[in-house]
Amino acid sequence: MKDMPDTNDAFLLLDDLTVEYHLSRRATVHAVSGLSVAVKRGETLGLVGESGCGKSSAARAVMQLPRPTRGRVVLDGQDLTTLKGSALQKARRQFQMIFQDPIASLNPRQTVRQILSAPLEIAGEQETTAERDARIIAMLDLVGLNGEQAIDRRPHEFSGGQCQRISIARALILRPELLVCDEAVSALDVSVQAQTLNLLEDLKREFGLTMLFISHDLAVVKHVSDRVAVMYLGMLCELADPDVIYRKPAHPYTRSLIAAVPAPDPDAPQREMQLVPGELPSPINPPSGCRFRTRCPLATDLCAQEIPMPRELAPGHRVACHHPLID
């Protein structure tokens, strides 16, 4: 069973990543189960799925916040799950994260100077106050804020979109190589969202970032990703280039997800979701075999018995399904 293509040139490698939360002695939430993906240097991997699919848990496991229950997170050849204490703290300057809620992720009592100084202090950067200020101002300018003016202000003086820019500045000030964005534009209005997406694309080029971009919004993901992974109930369904996955989804869940996106066009044909009516099963007691089978119109007995392992349909196109949609 080959479930790990191109691990050689992987900059970020998630290997059998498993995140479980223990609720009580008997109940365990299976948030992420055996997720394996490789992300190349400079690549953006979009991770999409609906609530409860484990995309945020996966992001946090990458950040070691908290550590995954099982599996490895290998960044630039180093397994982060084995690092402890100061070694992990030192490694953290390589990978940073931005969160969904731009206002809640900034301390309202701190000035922007304090907010952006924190990572520098933690990393133990030796520099004079003037050097530090210059560095902060330059970073703020880079994310499209007026650094000179912004540095002495507090978060409440900024709009949501500007706060998200401050978060981005904080994440990038240590010049990390990996940026994890967890629903980073979901709380923003469309016009601000577009500005932020464009900014992220520019910064990615400028900093040569590798990105893990998590979102529930398929259209947003398509705009920033080099490859897209679709998750359902803790498991990987499909992984491919955006053009492939949106045009010819091979996993029945991906097909439903794409069909459900309302097109901003009154003449767009209404697409059938092709979902068996019902509810998302509980991640405490996920279905046997394929986790999507309870909602899948193509499910057979095999799907209940055997977990479909991701397999390569075409180069770079992996699908975990017993009955993939191939013409």
Partner: protein, 331 residues
């Protein structure tokens, strides 16, 4: 295709709603007028702070005490003026003639009561049903909104249901008394896309079956495109463009609408397609600049935009001195 023959359910005229804040008066809704006929769905789109939700609360008479309704504001439902009615009379109208579905079904429902109690309350208060008849009707309603096993679900509490199911319950409560007007305020924003499609389908069929009028408030142009007859676009408390849905998308007049449409990421775009973002931010509604509120961000703005353009036009209305030429409209 404005259907003038249809019975007009709702007539909003020059609605102005302001809030007193520490910095001064915030004009959240600034002179909004429109009518809505039976059987039609009007989409109201806008970004945060555009006034779309305050407008819906103004129609429902559900404004907080700090709200100030401007002189000359009028909301007529079935020919009756609502703005001057005492709260007691309004209570008899809300739920009965006009009902609302909110964004977050968890906070809209009472967590301490079974869903059965919450539906039957409406039926007993408004329609005077007895306990048994109301319960029977509640089960029927839950079935009609697609809740599986309504006979057992009726005795469950909201926390025992998923988000989508809760929204179905909220819709069941809203349509319980067959209101003439249903206001859905971001009804699917808190839901996943696959659930969103189901809930929008449900709203659409219920409106059709019961021949209601619906106001669908959303920030999502995609939701509006597929589910409305007419669309009103709001910006800084005003309707800046209003048209039948196809005209609004195909023959966009107001530069704000055009800019909004081209800033949306679409799944049909190529990967890494650069979005046409709107620069700047919406104006401060406490001391708004004179003239067109969008002018500072508008690439067509000229000196004439220093005076506010009226919302004008037959069928396709827009408030702009320099409307987008047909060819410049993004497809």
């Amino acid at each position: 295709m404005a259907n003038k023959m249809q019975e007009v359910i709702l007539e909003v005229t020059n609605q102005r709603t302001a809030f007193a804040t520490g910095r001064g008066l915030l004009q959240a809704v600034d002179g909004v007028s429109f009518t809505l006929a039976r059987g039609r769905t009007l989409g109201i789109v806008g970004e945060s702070g555009s006034g779309k939700s305050v407008l819906s609360r103004s129609i429902m008479g559900l404004l907080p005490g700090t709200a100030i309704t401007g002189p000359g504001s009028s909301v007529r439902l079935n020919g009756r003026e609502l703005t001057t009615l005492p709260e007691k009379t309004l209570r008899g109208i809300r739920g009965r003639e006009v009902a609302i579905v909110f964004q977050d079904p968890m906070t809209a429902l009472n967590p301490t009561l079974t869903i059965g109690v919450q539906i039957t309350e409406v039926l007993r208060k408004h329609l005077g049903m007895d306990r048994a008849a109301a319960r029977e009707r509640a089960v029927e309603l839950l079935r009609s909104v697609g809740l599986p096993q309504p006979e057992t679900r009726v005795d469950q509490h909201p926390h025992q249901l998923s988000g989508g199911m809760r929204q179905r319950v909220a819709i069941a409560i809203a349509i319980a008394c067959e209101p003439d007007l249903l206001i859905a305020d971001e009804p699917t924003t808190a839901l996943d896309v696959t659930v969103q499609a189901e809930i929008l389908d449900l709203l659409q069929t219920q409106v059709k079956q019961r021949n209601m009028a619906m106001i669908l408030i959303t920030h999502d142009m995609g939701v509006v495109a597929g589910r409305c007859d007419d669309v009103a676009v709001m910006y800084a408390g005003k309707i800046v463009e209003q048209a039948p849905v196809r005209a609004l998308f195909r023959d966009t007049k107001m530069p704000y609408t055009a800019a909004l449409l081209s800033s949306i990421p679409r799944i049909t775009d190529a990967a890494h397609h650069r979005l046409d973002a709107i620069g700047g931010r919406p104006p401060d509604l406490i001391n708004p600049p004179p003239g067109c509120a969008f002018a500072p961000r508008c690439r067509f703005a000229g000196p004439e935009c220093n005076s506010a353009p009226p919302l004008a036009g037959e069928g396709h209305k827009f408030a702009c001195w320099n409307p987008v030429k047909p060819k410049e409209t993004a497809a």
